[in-house]
């Protein structure tokens, strides 16, 4: 039982990270009907930029741990968000009217480019985060000893998800995003600048993904330039699981996938851990392509 709850909380923390990345996939898909394959690599860039900023400014020493990491997260989000906007301008906007395959190939190219740029800049080895940024130790919750880091990671992702949800539901820009997702043409007729909405989506999605990269660095203590595609695939699975294009769906899907994976790794087989997410992905696409709460993605045959 002890192990079950440990794996459950671990799964929730990892799931929170998946959910943050999945939000980027799902928002871009909602507005553009495009799978942004480069999203996983923007996430990795978040992890690397976080490390660089962390070691060069040492904010946690100057501002204290929580404020320092908070400012750091904002800087990472800003930078990765900017990269997302530039990526959309360079690789996706010229292909807005092109056939689907072209945009998909361009996205894959962008993914390969971003990943290898990181390798050339930082080298192929794992990059290690300095120890003890976040408080170590653990707290007692109902008789369970749960590491503080785990709770902080889960809290951070939940807070960001809540902010995003309120932003999309309550603000004027959020309404424009939702309108563009339903019908771009009609949104344009209502005076919504769809290009600007797309830019905003490509700012927010990668910003959340970048913050997830930072969280992975803080949680596991190391980042690698190839981690983007495994996390990306899993987050994408989470987005499909919840129903792609659906923001609450991505949150639920991410947390669920994290838990399923952690429990599967603990009780079935650790060696097959990475295969679990892919099996979930294939099963959900075959059995219920709409996801738990989402739109239809498969054609009827």
């Amino acid at each position: 039982m002890e192990q079950f709850f440990q794996q459950l909380t671990n799964g929730l923390a990892v799931g929170g990270i998946y959910a943050l990345i999945a939000l980027g996939y799902t928002m871009v898909y909602g507005v553009m009907k495009l799978i942004n394959f480069a999203h996983g690599d923007l996430f990795t860039w978040g992890g690397y930029l976080g490390l660089t900023l962390l070691t060069s400014f040492l904010l946690q020493d100057r501002l204290g741990v929580l404020a320092g990491v908070g400012v750091l997260a904002l800087m990472v989000m800003g930078l990765v968000g900017l990269m997302g906007v530039l990526l959309e301008r360079a690789a996706y906007r010229p292909l807005r009217e092109a056939p689907r395959l072209s945009a998909v190939v361009s996205a894959l190219g962008a993914s390969i480019f971003l990943q290898n740029a990181l390798m050339l800049l930082y080298g192929a080895q794992f990059q290690v985060y300095p120890d003890g940024i976040l408080p170590q130790g653990s707290v007692d919750v109902f008789g369970l000893r749960i590491p503080v880091v785990r709770i902080l990671v889960l809290l951070a992702s939940l807070v960001m998800m809540a902010v995003l949800y309120l932003f999309v539901q309550k603000t004027k820009i959020g309404t424009a995003i939702r309108a563009a997702a339903i019908d771009q043409g009609a949104a344009r007729l209502m005076g919504i600048d769809v290009n600007r909405v797309v830019s905003i989506v490509f700012l927010i999605g990668p910003a959340l993904g970048g913050s997830a990269g930072l969280l992975v660095g803080l949680y596991y203590g190391q980042v690698n330039f190839t981690m983007g595609w495994v996390y990306g695939m899993k987050a994408f699975t989470a987005a499909i699981l919840g129903g792609i294009g659906n923001i609450p769906g991505a949150m639920v899907g991410g947390l669920l996938l994290g838990v399923v994976e952690a429990l599967g790794a603990a009780y079935l087989s650790i060696a097959w851990k990475d295969a679990i997410a892919f099996c979930v992905l294939i099963l959900i696409l075959i059995v219920r392509p709409t996801g738990l709460l989402g739109e239809r993605v498969a054609e009827k045959v």
Binding site: V105, A298, E299
Partner: protein, 333 residues
């Protein structure tokens, strides 16, 4: 097939036949690799180019073929060339089983699922599935093929074996392109709804494209196993599939000469610029982005069959020649 293309194939065949006289073993080996990738890319081209199915798990079929050949030849002592058709069959059977449930997925989702399939196969191989695949170390000691009593061992022997197989493949796939099957696939790619409306059984043809493409990749896999004598799961990872995808897209999807050119560029060019070996994938990524904006159809795009002025004139002549016949038929009764 038009004459210019035939002449180009002839020239390429001649150059390849003479290559061992002018190149050292290293460069002959590079040509072997180009040939192997050309085979694999042609097999993917059937699925991605002709049928328009975004398959990014081709390495999985390649792996099934390679491992089948390796297991048959090391455990049962079957000569590796006899294992070649069996490897093709195994890959085809595997494709038939795994592709059927996912065929109906829309373009980019099919791509994601095939990435997942490829990854599951790789993880299965690493985990020594059925106790046959040797785990992360793979299988070693695969015997060399023996052809007409001659042991195929040196790179130049493999050059003839591989490129001979490529030549047969190119011939067969050109024939396939012209066949009812090939035309049905093209129709399917251009407009699935219209194709279905005209009586093309879309599911069956898509599945056949997958099965045939997988069979070819499986056979290429058995040649790879025989060439390397060692195979391990790393050789069949996600990046193999990406490179094959890139070859087809870069060369011109659906176009056989385009795919051959793509294989030569993607596999051969990095060898010329070895100093930049680490930047290879970076350049590939950039090329993919730029190509999609600048030249979406690929370097040597598929030429569509269309009526030329000469064809129309010929049809007119034939009709004129045929006209007197019905006139006489009218008179006779």
């Amino acid at each position: 097939m038009d004459r210019k293309l035939l002449a180009a194939y002839g020239a390429a065949a001649l150059l390849l036949a003479l290559a061992p006289r002018f190149l050292d073993a290293y460069w002959v080996d590079v040509l072997d690799n180009v040939g192997l990738y050309a085979l694999l890319a042609l097999s993917l081209n059937l699925i991605l180019g002709d049928a328009g199915l975004f398959n990014m798990g081709q390495a999985a079929f390649y792996a099934v073929g390679a491992y089948t050949a390796a297991i048959l030849s090391t455990r049962l002592g079957l000569p590796v060339l006899y294992a070649l058709p069996l490897a093709g069959l195994a890959a085809a059977a595997f494709a038939a089983v795994v592709a059927r449930p996912v065929l109906h997925l829309r373009g980019d989702y099919l791509l994601i699922v095939t990435v997942g399939l490829g990854e599951i196969v790789r993880i299965a191989l690493v985990n020594d599935v059925f106790g046959l695949t040797g785990g992360a170390n793979g299988i070693f000691g695969i015997p060399r093929p023996i052809l007409f009593g001659h042991k195929v061992k040196r790179p130049e022997d493999f050059l003839y074996l591989i490129w001979g197989f490529v030549a047969v493949t190119v011939f067969l796939f050109h024939r396939l392109e012209q066949s009812r099957f090939g035309r049905a696939l093209n129709y399917l790619r251009e407009d699935p709804v219209a194709a279905e409306g005209s009586g093309v059984d879309t599911v069956r043809y898509k599945l056949m494209a997958f099965v045939l493409g997988a069979a070819w990749a499986g056979m290429a896999g058995s040649i790879y196993a025989a060439k390397m004598t060692i195979i391990s799961p790393e050789s069949f990872g996600f990046w193999e599939s990406v490179i094959l995808f890139l070859i087809v897209i870069l060369g011109g999807s659906g176009s056989i000469p385009g795919v051959l050119l793509g294989a030569a560029l993607v596999v051969g060019l990095p060898e010329l610029f070895r100093g930049f070996a680490t930047a290879r994938m970076l350049v590939f990524g950039l090329v993919m982005m730029v190509m999609m904006v600048v030249r979406r159809q690929g370097l040597l795009p598929l030429r569509r069959v269309r009526f030329k002025a000469a064809d129309v004139a010929r049809a007119e002549r034939e009709r004129a020649a045929a006209r007197p016949a019905p006139a006489r038929a009218e008179v006779s009764p």
